[in-house]
Symmetry: C2
Subunit: 233 residues, 2 copies
């Protein structure tokens, strides 16, 4: 640390768009701020990055502290550093998105701490205006995902481990905000060859039960030449 010109230092943070899918709705995790500035406003979960951790570690830590979850698909999508985005001074923010499985929502206890009065799962369609420039960050991240999902199936982490093709289609429809054709959707999804058909059917529905499928990471990696995991910076 001897030669670095320290007068160039800036405060910087990680903010996270944490997506969940519950009751047929796409939701994101927001905290309600308990401190000025923007006291009482909703904001993306975020935190300062320590000088002893990588940015990914910081993002993982925030995800963990916000949801108690680890090992989640997470992707850095943009860094925001406009002047004036924080009223108290220059702050650089690296933004990530993550997708998590909301089925055991009971296990997920959104944080309450001195900064956050409460944390809530907010349906994307009901999003209020957020603190700082977080609305803008959200829009940019959401657009990225919408874009990406069109050519790369990345949404499985949002579903329960076992899911039906109809559930998967509903998820796509919510993210893309349009109706999809059932037969074409299934054809295309199966053609990706990344799903494993199970010998099991869904339970507890009052109509013909659908087959369950699992996401197959091995096949995914084979076809998309990518691991579904953190990238190392």
């Amino acid at each position: 640390m001897e030669n670095l010109p320290l007068h160039f230092e800036s405060v910087f943070t990680v903010d996270c768009i944490i997506f969940g899918f519950d009751e047929g709705e796409l939701k994101i995790l927001l905290i309600e701020r308990n401190e000025d500035p923007f006291k009482g406003w909703f904001a993306l979960p975020g935190y300062f990055v320590e000088n002893t951790e990588s940015i990914e570690s910081a993002a993982e830590r925030i995800l963990y502290e916000s949801t108690g979850l680890k090992g989640i698909y997470m992707e850095q999508f943009h860094t925001f550093g406009a002047l004036g985005r924080h009223p108290q001074g220059r702050v650089i923010t690296v933004a990530y998105y993550a997708m998590i499985r909301l089925t055991n929502q009971k296990d997920l206890k959104p944080v309450t701490n001195n900064l956050a009065k409460q944390a809530v799962w907010m349906p994307v369609k009901d999003m209020p205006e957020l603190a700082f420039d977080h609305s803008r960050i959200f829009r940019k991240g959401f657009e990225k995902i919408r874009n990406k999902i069109s050519y790369q199936p990345i949404a499985f982490e949002l579903l329960p481990e076992k899911f039906t093709l109809t559930q998967l289609q509903h998820l796509y429809e919510v993210i893309l905000n349009k109706k999809l054709d059932k037969r074409n959707f299934r054809k295309k999804m199966l053609a990706y060859d990344i799903l494993k058909e199970l010998d099991e059917k869904q339970k507890g529905v009052s109509y013909r039960a659908a087959k369950l499928y699992k996401f197959d990471k091995r096949k995914y990696a084979k076809h998309f030449n990518k691991e579904l995991s953190f990238s190392k910076d």
Copy 2:
């Protein structure tokens, strides 16, 4: 600036991959470092971001200081913040790429200053190992471009203002690193409807001269719903 927890400050910089296309080769601008660490190594042009400028401004400034050019297509593509990427301490780097027109290369005087002994246009195919983790940054940026160009025509800034379709095809071939079919390439490129055919032919060739075309920003914006310019963070 009153309440920000300053002990979270980090040093951070912008690095730039500046592409040029010259003599049928894709090149990037590198500086040869004149200072430790990595004295004598080649590195991406980069600099510290001041607390009084946005990240984009810093990137523009670096581009200007490295090449004397302004108003160039530039895109942020990733932020690198691994521990240990700088031997003297924690440094966060926001990476951009830019594409510039190398035809008036005489006007471009790569910087010489105390940090940089010299600046050179290095053919991508001859890239040496770079200082810090710059090789990795370069690979990531190059991959992004290669990816993007496949579905969005962004390479015009590399060509002279007026160019032939064959020149454009050569550029694509160099970036994608594969031969393309002439008829299919032209068909597809013209179908984008972003080129303006000029009433003019190339000069000074010892064979049949080809028609010249111009990139049409208006049409581009119309089709891709995007301005070819800086985004404001």
